[in-house]
């Protein structure tokens, strides 16, 4: 079948080529599996490249008292105990080995005076724990993984977008995609599939995410029958750029605060004293983001509605050495010399704690043969992610997903791909070319961004969420009639039309979950329910497809064994 489509066959197909996808690929290759990696952009451009501050791992190179137990405790406390405790345990235990492995593959971290990997302080971490390379840790990581993967022999399909997971009964058996360059379809047959597509930031107007982060993997998995969990927990990073308009949302690394940066309002007050007098600027991201937002809302914001972040009390040479890309970013894009004066910063949509529900040990979803890792998966971070825990997440669970996917492939029988599923999926992707009326994908996207920004933002309430859900319904109707101009050759308007479908699915899951959780916890802040609610401490929201209907159910939080409970409470 599929004679008319270009077809590739692998034991393991990995969708996404950021840190999690590449780490999964390396591990699956090591198991002797044939591996294909598909990515929407060029290899090496995934959002991992934007990670700045570092990788959290209890190596105890700087603070010798650190160990996995403290890292585990910090992660659970930061996540307000909604984390999957087993993932948090595995993560804390395995992260140091994953960092050492990166070094053995050629990554060059900053050093301590005794020649070990240097670690820096970060929000919510008890000890200096973030292994880093100035403020471009993600670039070092992705380049190291990319070069290792390429030399081990992964097949990389660059600038190729997956639009549908194909199933053989209950199991996944492949995926349909299109080449962005030619618009032609391509079928991937695979015994196991790992989704490592990252987050959904592009559904918000102010975001640190690039065009790629449209929730594709979450939506694909959801369509294939997998469950989405904890979707109400969207991280707004406290410090994005706010001025000039074109750079609004671009990330300002937490490392600025890790290196001693101070937050002030327009009156010069160090306002974190009122929100978290103990941890101050290095409080968790949810707390700092709400603090900055509140200062601005109550009239104490900067000229452009943010807060001042100042590192200029440190020696200029030190700032340039430890924060080189921040120095250049502000000098070139905002005409600000951060060694001389403060930056203006404000919250920006940054990271999705929720995502595809997976098994802690092997990263498998509820669909046999379908695995997920990295930001696309959920569990490790609970209600709020600590800075630095994402890069370690990618490595720890990317590796586990790759291992398990290769193992699964060994026992999987012959593959059957259903020609009808393929044809139906191609028709759906091409339909916008046949319409003569309807809105452009850019218009609908702008309205989606406004909807999520205004109604499903940092602070939420019942009315707004209800309005948001209504708007999403109207946007769904408009997206079903979206019109595309031009040809199938490298046509971003057409690509966005497809990405809109993913964004709308995931946005609806976020809004539904946020409406259901009538309490405030971690990154989810309800003005109408400002406190913790004990009954919600024991429940996750889970979104699943029933027929064409998105349905919401609750799952109990996994009970932690006694010895881990002692660590967390100790």
């Amino acid at each position: 079948m599929n004679e008319k489509f270009e077809t590739h066959e692998h034991d393991v197909l990995i969708i996404g080529a950021g840190g999690a996808g590449l780490r999964a690929a390396i591990e699956a290759l090591g198991q002797g599996a044939s591996v294909g990696v598909v990515c929407k952009s060029l290899l090496g451009k995934a959002h991992t490249v934007m990670a700045e501050g570092g990788i959290a791992a209890a190596m105890a190179n700087v603070d010798t008292a650190d160990d996995w137990r403290t890292h585990f405790r910090d992660t659970m406390r930061g996540g307000k105990f909604l984390n999957n405790w087993r993932m948090a345990q595995i993560h804390a235990q395995e992260a140091p080995e994953r960092v050492r492995e990166l070094e053995q593959w050629g990554a060059l971290f900053d050093r301590t005076s005794s020649g070990d990997i240097l670690q820096r302080a970060f929000g919510g971490h008890t000890f200096k724990r973030l292994c880093h390379v100035g403020d471009r840790t993600g670039l070092e990581m992705i380049r190291t993984l990319q070069d290792r993967g390429v030399h081990l022999g992964i097949d990389v399909f660059m600038e190729c977008a997956i639009t549908k997971l194909l199933k053989d009964g209950e199991r996944v058996s492949g995926a349909l995609g299109y080449w962005r360059e030619t618009g032609r379809f391509v079928v991937f047959k695979a015994k196991s599939i790992v989704v490592a597509t990252g987050g959904i930031g592009k559904a918000w107007r102010i975001t640190s995410n690039s065009w790629e982060y449209t929730g594709d993997g979450m939506a694909l998995a959801y369509d294939a029958g997998a469950e989405l969990i904890d979707m109400e927990f969207v991280q707004f990073h406290p410090t994005g750029m706010v001025w000039p308009p074109g750079v609004q949302g671009i990330l300002v690394t937490e490392a600025v605060r890790g290196e001693g940066g101070i937050l002030r309002n327009k009156d010069g007050e160090r306002f974190m004293e009122r929100y978290d007098p103990e941890k101050m600027e290095l409080s968790t991201r949810d707390v700092v983001a709400r603090a900055i937002y509140t200062e601005a809302r109550e009239g104490r914001g900067t000229e452009h509605g943010g807060a001042y972040l100042d590192i200029s009390h440190k020696p200029p040479e030190y700032v340039k050495r430890k924060l080189p890309s921040m120095y250049h970013q502000f000098r070139e894009l905002a005409d600000v010399d951060i060694t001389q004066g403060p930056m203006e910063v404000g919250p920006t949509c940054h990271y999705m704690m929720g995502g595809i529900r997976v098994d802690a040990e092997i990263a498998q979803t509820t669909v046999p043969g379908l695995f997920a890792a990295g930001e696309a998966a959920a569990g490790l971070h609970g209600a709020n992610r600590l800075g630095g825990n994402s890069l370690s997440d990618l490595l720890v669970f990317g590796r586990r997903a790759g291992l398990a996917a290769a193992e699964h492939a060994k026992h999987r029988g012959p593959l059957a791909v259903d020609a009808r599923q393929v044809l139906e999926a191609t028709r759906e992707v091409l339909a916008p070319f046949e319409r003569s009326d309807g809105d452009s994908s850019y218009q609908i996207h702008r309205d989606l961004e406004e909807t999520m920004q205004n109604y499903v933002g940092i602070f939420r309430n019942e009315d707004d969420l209800q309005k948001g859900l209504g708007e999403l319904q109207r946007l769904n109707d408009r997206a079903a009639r979206v019109k595309v101009e031009g040809s199938r050759l490298f046509n971003p308007g057409w690509h966005l039309a497809r990405d809109l479908k993913s964004m709308l699915t995931v946005s609806e899951a976020v809004a539904l979950s946020a409406r259901a959780r009538k309490e405030s916890r971690g990154a989810h802040s309800r003005i109408d329910h400002p406190n913790y609610d004990e009954s919600w401490a024991k429940k996750h929201n889970v979104v699943v497809r029933e027929g064409d209907q998105m349905t919401l159910k609750q799952l109990p939080v996994l009970e932690m064994p006694g010895e881990l409970r002692q660590i967390v409470e100790g």
Binding site: M50, S325, Y442, F490
Partner: protein, 243 residues
């Protein structure tokens, strides 16, 4: 605020023309902002490659008024707006569509380079000063602007014999890694053709990461090739040292 005229290449490798678009200027605007404006208001199918929009991923390379630039870092207030701002794809790579070029050749060259290979029994201790030297090369964001301006590739089309500045930077990062034990001088001489470079420093000039490509990467690599292949005494000493 005033409008600027953007004269943008529309077409593919067979045919194409420049098309003018009017774009309202906002404070602090960069060329990529203008391209996005054109996409969302006038030409939804305008092909542009971009990702981070913060100068960290190296996706949005193009030629602005003839100068190779990251469009996300090219401010409009640094350009004259009383005349059209010309935006065209990188010349040294085949055009796919509009501003998007086929850069796959670079990925092929990369595959020729043997990866980091630690010496036996290393302890993984490194001095920051040794690391500093290599971290300069590791800053590379693979925007390929250096490949685009290098005349060996741009004018003489030596893609088969020459690796280009990007990959000399990459090899330098491996060769000068404090714990690497492999020599890549044969590769540099025979397959990456480092000898073709006559140190005009065009690559260094366009590097958005300010990597001193010529001085810190290419010249030391040329010296290593000379040492290994054209200086018998040093060749012998190096061989002894390695053993």
């Amino acid at each position: 605020m005033a409008d600027a005229t953007f004269r943008i290449f529309r077409g593919d490798r067979r045919q194409g023309q420049f098309v003018d678009y009017q774009v309202p200027i906002a404070p602090g605007m960069v060329v990529l902002d203008a391209l996005h404006y054109v996409q969302s208001h006038q030409a939804p199918d305008l092909a542009v490659r971009w990702n981070c929009k913060a100068g960290k991923c190296g996706s949005c390379s193009a030629e602005v008024n003839g100068r190779p630039r990251l469009t996300c870092k090219t401010r409009l207030d640094a350009l004259r707006i009383d005349e059209p701002i010309v935006v065209q794809p990188m010349k040294s790579f085949p055009v796919i569509r509009d501003l998007v070029t086929d850069v796959s050749w670079n990925y092929k060259v990369n595959r020729k380079i043997p990866p980091f290979t630690p010496r036996a029994n290393v302890t993984w201790k490194m001095d920051q000063r040794d690391v500093d030297r290599v971290q300069e090369f590791r800053k590379c964001i693979e925007c390929f602007l250096c490949q685009n301006v290098c005349h060996v590739l741009r004018d003489h089309e030596r893609q088969e014999q020459f690796g280009g500045p990007r990959f000399f930077v990459r090899v330098a990062g491996l060769e000068m890694h404090p714990l690497d034990g492999l020599s890549r001088t044969k590769l540099l001489k025979d397959e990456l053709g480092v000898g073709y470079c006559n140190i005009t420093k065009c690559c260094t000039e366009v590097c958005p990461e300010d990597i001193h490509i010529t001085d810190n990467a290419i010249i030391p690599l040329k010296e290593r090739v000379v040492d290994d292949y054209y200086d018998p005494v040093r060749w012998f000493l190096r061989k002894l040292k390695k053993e």
